[in-house]
Symmetry: C2
Amino acid sequence: MAARYSVLTNSPAGNEADTPTTRGATRGQVDAAIRSGLLTGRFIPGKAVTIRGLASELGVSPMPVREVLQRLAAENALEVKSNGRVQVPDMTPERFEEVLKARLLLEPELAERALFSLSKQDIKTLTVIDDEIDACIVSGDAEAYMQLNHAFHFHIYAASGSQVLLPLIDSLWLQFAPFMRTVYGRVGTVNLVDQHKEAIRAIEQKDAPALRDAISGDITDGMGLLGKEILKKTTGG
Amino acid sequence: MAARYSVLTNSPAGNEADTPTTRGATRGQVDAAIRSGLLTGRFIPGKAVTIRGLASELGVSPMPVREVLQRLAAENALEVKSNGRVQVPDMTPERFEEVLKARLLLEPELAERALFSLSKQDIKTLTVIDDEIDACIVSGDAEAYMQLNHAFHFHIYAASGSQVLLPLIDSLWLQFAPFMRTVYGRVGTVNLVDQHKEAIRAIEQKDAPALRDAISGDITDGMGLLGKEILKKTTGG
DNA sequence: CGTGCCATTTTGTGATCACAAAATTTGCAG
DNA sequence: CTGCAAATTTTGTGATCACAAAATGGCACG
């Protein structure tokens, strides 16, 4: 069977106007594809991912996939088992509690650092994103919700220009996102509440403590309550 | 010149009692070698590292080096520039301040989590390490000092059994270690003071707040004061 | 019908190759 | 001597290959 170029690659010889000069373009596309898949929950925790499988699915050789998988394993988004097999890590209560703690330590801090770099245009963008999030919650589109929730948070964080804290938070999101997707698949999205509007108000008023509280509350509401409950149930039965 | 198997590799065909079953042994050795080199300051910030260079230096093919470099780049220990070149990132005041902040947020927390897992044997080990550190400070052996200081901190942190916070802190150390090495090379090690003895005492007495303070103080003393002063000078002239 | 064993297939790993882009050196003209 | 351009070397990238270990499936035997 001829490898059917499925997703984000076209003919490998004819890219003239695309990104011809950029070194490592293929790797970048593979990285973006897998990363996006993890963040929106298209990879199931515990499921093994194979180099050749992803390579043929993306229409590229195994080489760039190998490198990207190593990258993601280094960020603890994927797990390399002792036999070399790569899989999406299973969530455990301990891991979950640690991710929650780390998020609560780092994200409010980075949000505050971004506060005075956020323009009126940014506020408008955040409002648009939050409206779309509300629509996804009622429509029950978990994948779109996750993508937009990520966009909301990282639109704030990215404004900080951070080079250290931001990658750490990136790693955290990659770790809990696949698990949260399974949670939404089980309990739906209607129970979701967010403190995004409080966050937007705090940004408008340049109120740092309020922004910290909103981010903390959003993390606790969206992740803490929901996830802890699920983990209790799954470990119990 | 024939590639002289320099460091940690022997004949590739005769490993029977070593690690024959372990998958990815070569990559693991390359990873350990480069990581150790970064943590002890054998790589200079701003200096480019080449795949083929490291490969021939370690007596392996470029393949495992490529993957390890991608891993370390994902941890922000190395920087992949737009032309594909890989180099040790230069330290900037902004980066330094962020690393310091992140360390102060994460490391006291992880130390506290490890507190009740630290045995009397661990305390003895820490005491031995700290004695060796004192010897290195007076003898001026910066490389050994850095290796031991890392060992001291991570012997505590590792006891926590953390799977999330520990890798984040790992990434932070890889980011500031090469820079700190250049600092010690400039101002020497005699000015170094550490709060390791206070930390050991807090562990003995299972005093969590005291341990947090000791770790925070150690970070501030060893990194904050020294590094900020250096960065001010270098950016000023 | 269950269980252990063997053949087959899948998969990761390390090595090598070909190519293009980038850096470096060389050479020449002003 | 200086500055620019062409040639050479270096370097990263993607692809393919060979091999070993692991997983899978089927088959025989109890």
